[in-house]
């Protein structure tokens, strides 16, 4: 096959795919990116050490591969800063072997035996030895708010107090998620069904009206698509991807050819992700970016989290909400 023929086929492929709304060449960054925006739970080394000492199997199930903001004291540091050993401030019966990548080693070397240290990273447990390891993502100063395991943090220090958040349930308690208490008012929270914003059970959160109010619309929706009451044919209830496509087509009016992206999260959940655009017929401009997260509820339904924005100013709130959403 000569070069001209190959070039012609590739061009034909590109043209065909572009007519079908393909996003292969779309370099738009995923904003609701749970994998690159891990939520770290604050834990002291004393707590980790106590749990592993008391019941190592249960502690392994709880902590293995989980991101943690760890607070403890340094036992020793390698000469090159690659390895740091940390233990509890009061409970020193177990140590955690912390590994630092090259860019963190010069910081690691500044720590001495007995000094307190706060580390973003993730715990892993040796398969055969049961030793507890910690891969360091970042050194940090301990935040003033780090008082209990109700505190969670993004790596940039943005904090979230789960205890102060308000729990919301939909689908008769089958879906549970948490919102900041500042969202619990009529200006922000709107029932989709009751206020004639759609036919799904759930809520719209008008994020741009959080204080101070902003004129650029930004909304988050958390809704439940009930297969039993919203599908034309009950036999389609196991066709999750096609249902998701139908949902997107209904809401946006169009959908590209490619399937949703499957995401397996570090916290043990999985969801399908779709990225689209909504152009409001009543407004000029490029429209609103729409990021969908679909969490399947078996064959009963799908939880639809939809983030609609021009500027993702409340992205961190969306990330926390997504992290703690549970389908029971």
């Amino acid at each position: 096959m000569n070069k001209k023929r190959i070039t012609a086929i590739i061009m034909a492929l590109c043209v065909c795919l572009s007519f079908c709304g393909a996003g292969w060449f779309d370099g738009t960054k995923v904003m609701v990116d749970t994998e690159n925006n891990k939520v770290y739970q604050y834990r002291t080394a004393d707590e980790i050490v106590s749990e592993f000492t008391a019941n190592s199997k249960a502690a392994k199930t709880k902590y293995n591969n989980q991101p943690v903001l760890l607070y403890g004291q340094v036992v020793s540091v390698d000469k090159d800063g690659k390895n740091l050993t940390v233990t509890g401030l009061s409970n020193t019966s177990l140590t955690l072997e912390c590994t630092c990548e090259r860019s963190l080693r010069s910081t690691a070397k500044t720590y001495q035996t007995g000094t307190k240290v706060a580390l973003y990273g993730s715990i892993s447990v040796g398969l055969f030895t049961g030793d507890v390891y910690f891969t360091v993502d970042k050194f940090t100063a301990l935040p003033a708010s780090a008082l209990s395991s109700d505190m969670y943090y993004l790596k940039d220090g943005t904090e979230y107090n789960k205890r102060n958040a308000t729990k919301v349930t939909i689908n008769n308690g089958g879906v549970e998620y948490y919102i900041p208490s500042t969202w619990v008012n009529d200006k922000i929270q709107h029932s989709v069904k009751d206020e004639n914003l759609g036919t799904m059970e759930g809520y719209q959160y008008v994020l741009n009206k959080l204080s101070p109010a902003d004129s650029v619309p930004e909304s988050l929706f958390v809704c439940y698509f009930d297969n039993n009451s919203q599908l034309a044919f009950a036999g389609d209830s196991d066709e999750t991807k096609l249902i998701e496509k139908a949902i997107v087509e209904n809401i946006l009016g169009n959908v590209g050819i490619f399937p949703t992206k499957r995401v397996m999260t570090y916290y043990g959940e999985e969801y399908n992700y779709y990225d689209g655009v909504f152009k409001n017929a009543l407004e000029a401009g490029d429209g609103y970016r729409c990021e969908f997260i679909f969490r399947a509820d078996g064959e009963d339904g799908i939880v639809v989290v939809l983030y609609v924005y021009r500027e993702a100013k409340h992205l961190k709130d969306v990330l926390f909400l997504t992290r703690f959403l549970e389908v029971r």
Partner: protein, 168 residues
């Protein structure tokens, strides 16, 4: 030549299959919008009461307060809001609202945000007070003198402006 024609048609067919032609479709029971984004975006447009709420709002001393969870948003632009037909919301009775004040140790938090200055917190409570709002004071291993001070503040506001509060 015939072989080339067949190959060409096969390539077109493969491309069409990739494009999703002939793929099974799932039908929804109704054509109504699952989420009507046009109407929902209408909810996002600022009304007169959204502007009034911002006037005179004070923020806590930034040097003493950690960054709250919600992002800082820039001031609204001067661009005029385009005229949009908004789907009128049904008249709903005002929902009762509970605002939490939590005292933990010596720290006071109001709706999650720490407030180191009692005078500024008092001003905020006066602004947030209305008929449907009840303030809930929570003792979360509070230092006794701080808790008593907060309780006195609420009691004074109850006498002055009929602010409603409960203790937990």
């Amino acid at each position: 030549m015939k072989r080339k024609r067949v190959l060409f048609l096969l390539a077109i067919a493969v491309l069409l299959v990739l494009a999703g032609w002939g793929q099974k479709k799932v039908e929804l029971l109704s054509d109504k919008k699952l989420i009507d984004l046009s109407a929902a975006i209408g909810n996002c447009k600022l009304g007169a009461d959204d502007m009034v709420q911002d006037i005179g709002k004070e923020t806590p001393n930034p040097s003493a307060t950690p960054v709250p969870m919600t992002s800082v948003t820039p001031k609204p632009t001067a661009k005029p809001t385009p005229k949009v037909t908004v789907t009128p919301k049904p008249d709903l009775p005002a929902k009762p609202r509970i605002q939490e004040i939590r005292v933990r140790g010596e720290q006071i938090t109001y709706n999650y945000v720490p407030w180191p200055d009692l005078d500024i917190l008092t001003a905020q409570l006066r602004r947030d007070h209305d008929e449907r709002t009840t303030f809930r004071l929570v003792d979360d291993y509070a230092e006794a003198h701080v808790y008593r001070e907060m309780l006195k503040l609420l009691s004074d506001l109850e006498a002055e402006i009929e602010l409603k509060y409960t203790v937990e």
